[in-house]
Symmetry: C2
Subunit: 249 residues, 2 copies
């Protein structure tokens, strides 16, 4: 009888990473498309015409600056839901949408729990899960990640979120915390993302890296990150391509 | 249009707990049956006859005493895999199984990652997940819980384990930590277990409780916990019965 690969944990390919950690916003789900459509709906419902792409992009920028305040210590810990909600209050008047009341704002904020996956995400994850643990490693809060998984019917083995560690990516505590909880060495774990910053941080802590190109992350309004083949352990066009490359490795 | 129940999180029944946290060993999976069968196999393979029920029950007792040492501060943090493995080294000589080598012991220890679910667990969870978040809240380590979910094809929304909190149940940090990560009040969360101690602790921290009877938890060799209808918020014969009761509530 052949020795059990990976001491019987059911993971079949000993030369490959045992766990894949996925960035979510942009890498797994299409925030731009989902949020801009929702903004258009909401603005129509209050008879306003709005630059929904602009508001979407600014909302996303405000998420980064909200996290930066926490990372730098200027702000106490904020869940991403709070960061999104506070950013919305700041942004709506600039788009002449201050008529939207508090309940409608809560409802609009909830769109971040219902982002559509990219067309390949679901089937790609299912394929990747056959040979690897698959988990999120996201700055989103846990209930948001649960809702995204339900909305997109994404089968994760478990969810790692910033609130578990009280740190946002790219802080070391997130990448290394996930490895510790999986009882794996960083070299046995691969970060999968469409953002170079996320992968560069992961690599600096010893994780393997897979870059996935998401050309339309910003709906074509801004240039998405790009990588050439030699820059990361894997560079893939989508999750299905990544699964194919890992199977062939 | 009716108001979105639970601010759009997709949970449909506002008068019921939004999240169900499940004990795993005994409540969701049959540790006694799975472990005792594995011990029989291993002892046959080394031409030994062994009291597999007795060894299984003692192994389980050693798990409790191993955790008690951590809870009382006598020992540093131990993952459950370590507690099981150290207990095995202590127990095997008492059963004249010291011939089993280190690799075989690792393999035997891994049985705790492959425990069969009770016959109702999978379909019951699928039913319960329609209206509630469903998650583990277990003293098992995370990779063990992932492996159990894969082995039994159990669809959890997420996994809470003791290593997240560096505390074992029944410490408050586990129950309240899960509530905090879900951004729910304890009263919005229900602990589901076949152990009175687990539920009594959960109730003392403000969680709702559901007792599920698992008469055969100890394979009939020891009396399993029992509860009468008034003692917990719900008392059910299995997960499917619990789903029925929650739907009717």
């Amino acid at each position: 009888m052949a020795a059990k690969p990976f001491d019987g944990r059911g993971i079949m390919t000993p030369t490959l990473p045992r766990a894949l950690l996925f960035d979510v916003f942009g890498t797994t789900v299409d925030w731009f498309g989902s949020v801009s459509r929702k903004i258009s709906e909401v603005s129509s419902s209050v008879q306003q015409s709005v630059d929904s792409a602009g508001l979407t992009l600014n909302w996303r920028r405000a998420y980064y600056s909200g996290m930066a305040k926490v990372i730098s210590g200027k702000c106490a810990w904020h869940r991403v839901d709070q960061i999104h909600r506070e950013a919305l209050d700041e942004l709506l008047p600039r788009y002449e949408l201050d008529c939207i009341d508090s309940t409608q704002r809560d409802d609009l904020n909830q769109i971040w729990h219902c982002l559509d996956p990219w067309p390949d995400s679901r089937s790609g994850l299912t394929k990747l899960r056959q040979n690897h643990y698959v988990a999120t490693l996201s700055n989103g809060n846990l209930d948001l990640l649960i809702d995204l998984a339900r909305h997109g019917n994404l089968q994760w083995d478990t969810l790692f979120c910033s609130d578990l560690f009280q740190h946002f990516k790219p802080d070391a505590e997130t990448y290394l915390g996930a490895c510790r909880l999986l009882a794996l060495q960083p070299a046995e774990v691969m970060m999968v993302a469409c953002h170079r910053g996320d992968l560069d941080a992961a690599a600096s802590y010893g994780l393997c890296t897979a870059f996935v190109t998401r050309t339309l992350e910003y709906g074509g309004h801004e240039k998405a990150d790009h990588a050439s083949a030699s820059e990361y352990d894997y560079v893939a066009t989508d999750f299905i391509d990544l699964a194919r490359q890992l199977e062939a490795a």
